[in-house]
């Protein structure tokens, strides 16, 4: 009896993560071991550029656009400003856009974190879409 239970439990422990990890099924009963793979997803990396009416440009980091010195010390999936589409850049920059003069333009060039590595992202007018969604 103990031998049978041992084999079953050992097989479950060793093999079951294959189902959620390789076949994307079985959750939440089966546990994937993908620690921290979601951390940093939706966080933009690159350069925001403010183009003023007279043509002068100012480069800003994502944190400068956020008006923060660092990202919040909360669980990453609780952060409402994560970016998954270029339209979501407007949510990320909503506070900045609210203060941006109407004759200025905010654009972004860079990438955004995703589960399988960063994906390129750019937007010519970040404040145009999604600014009021956040």
């Amino acid at each position: 009896m103990r031998k049978t239970v041992f084999i079953l439990l050992a097989a479950f422990i060793l093999v079951s993560p294959m189902v959620p990890q390789l076949l994307s099924a079985g959750q939440p009963v089966l546990r994937p071991w993908i620690m921290f793979s979601g951390v940093g997803t939706g966080v933009p990396k690159g350069v925001f550029t403010v183009t003023k009416a007279n043509g002068t440009q100012v480069m800003l980091t994502p944190l400068e656009v956020l008006g923060q010195t660092s990202y919040p010390a909360i669980r990453h999936y609780m952060w409402p400003k994560r970016v998954f589409t270029k339209e979501r850049l407007g949510v990320f920059a909503a506070d900045f856009c609210a203060k941006l003069p109407s004759d200025s333009l905010l654009s972004f060039e860079g990438s955004v974190g995703a589960r399988k590595g960063p994906i390129p992202l750019s937007h010519d007018d970040v404040c145009e879409a999604g600014a009021g969604d956040g």
């Binding site: 084999i7 990890q21 940093g40 660092s70 590595g117 960063p118």
Partner: protein, 291 residues
């Protein structure tokens, strides 16, 4: 599959089952894990399940559960039942609050690991040493003039805990086996979130540093998945694994993951070696109760 291969496979399976299901030895390491898990459970959940956080009355019995059973596990009162109840409580929270209600922090790998460790430890006589049960057994033996009961038993639960550690290392390495991890891009995402604007940002966000760290972690995790099970390699790989978890603790908000993994390394060390060490430390007291 040829007959010879079938016979070889069956032979390997028999060796594996004998290694695991028939594992027998001193119970001191199992008892230490029991005590450690009880304390980690309190540290991890005390704030969340305490009465002052109970918005819904249904949380109150859960709070009592998560305080009382770890207390029993800690002192070794109904030790196997209490550590099993700890595991059941943790998995209740994992599925109900984590998977179902999506409350932050509950559906996490470190919560699952704690619950799994408790349930697997319940398969061992983890209360045969350092417990109220042990004190009561000794008292009865003294009263009846019987010899002191030994502190050994079936430890297949420790083997399963060891396999759980290997599975964690292997599958987390599988998840990292891709170019975006090896070249440091995925690690960069993690560090951008945690280190942007912080003191170590200039060092950790260097591409060379990230690629080196990422590759190192991947190689170490694959190696640990196998080598932690091999006694010959343990003197080398266990310190490496412990260092890895200390590094995780220092560099990332891992909650109780690192400390739980470090505690569960006790399941990998031959229990006789743990008992001998403790005996030497305590002047031979522990060793005398070995069969």
């Amino acid at each position: 599959m040829t007959f010879a291969r079938q016979a070889l496979a069956m032979d390997r399976l028999r060796i594996f089952v004998a290694w695991g299901a028939e594992h027998h030895g001193p119970t001191h390491s199992a008892a230490l894990i029991r005590v450690g898990l009880a304390l980690i459970i309190w540290v991890r959940f005390a704030d969340e399940v305490a009465f002052f956080n109970a918005v819904d009355p249904l949380f109150l019995p859960f709070g009592v559960w998560m305080f009382v059973w770890p207390l029993f596990a800690l002192i070794g009162l109904f030790p196997r039942v209490s550590i099993a109840m700890c595991g059941i409580g943790i998995f209740f929270g994992y599925f109900m609050f984590g998977a179902n209600f999506r409350l932050p922090g509950w559906y996490h790998h470190h919560v699952y690991l704690l619950g799994a460790a408790c349930l697997l430890l319940a398969l061992t006589p983890c209360g045969r040493s350092w417990s109220f049960e042990r004190w009561r057994t000794l008292k009865e033996a003294d009263r009846d003039g019987k010899p002191t009961p030994d502190q050994t038993g079936p430890l297949w639960g420790l083997r399963l805990i060891g396999l759980q550690l290997s599975a964690i290392y292997f599958w987390t390495a599988v998840d990292k086996t891709e170019w975006a991890w090896v070249n440091g891009e995925r690690l960069e995402q993690i560090f951008v979130w945690h280190y942007s604007g912080r003191a170590l940002e200039p060092v950790l966000l260097e591409p060379v540093v990230m690629a080196t760290l990422a590759t190192l972690v991947l190689v170490v995790e694959y190696a640990l998945a196998v080598l932690i099970q091999l006694r010959r390699w343990q003197p080398v790989v266990l310190p490496i694994g412990l260092s890895l978890h200390v590094a995780f603790y220092l560099f990332l908000p891992v909650d109780t993951y690192s400390i739980t993994m470090i505690l569960l390394y006790l399941a990998l060390i031959p229990p006789e070696a743990v008992t001998r060490f403790l005996g030497r430390m305590q002047g031979g007291v522990v060793e005398t109760h070995l069969r």
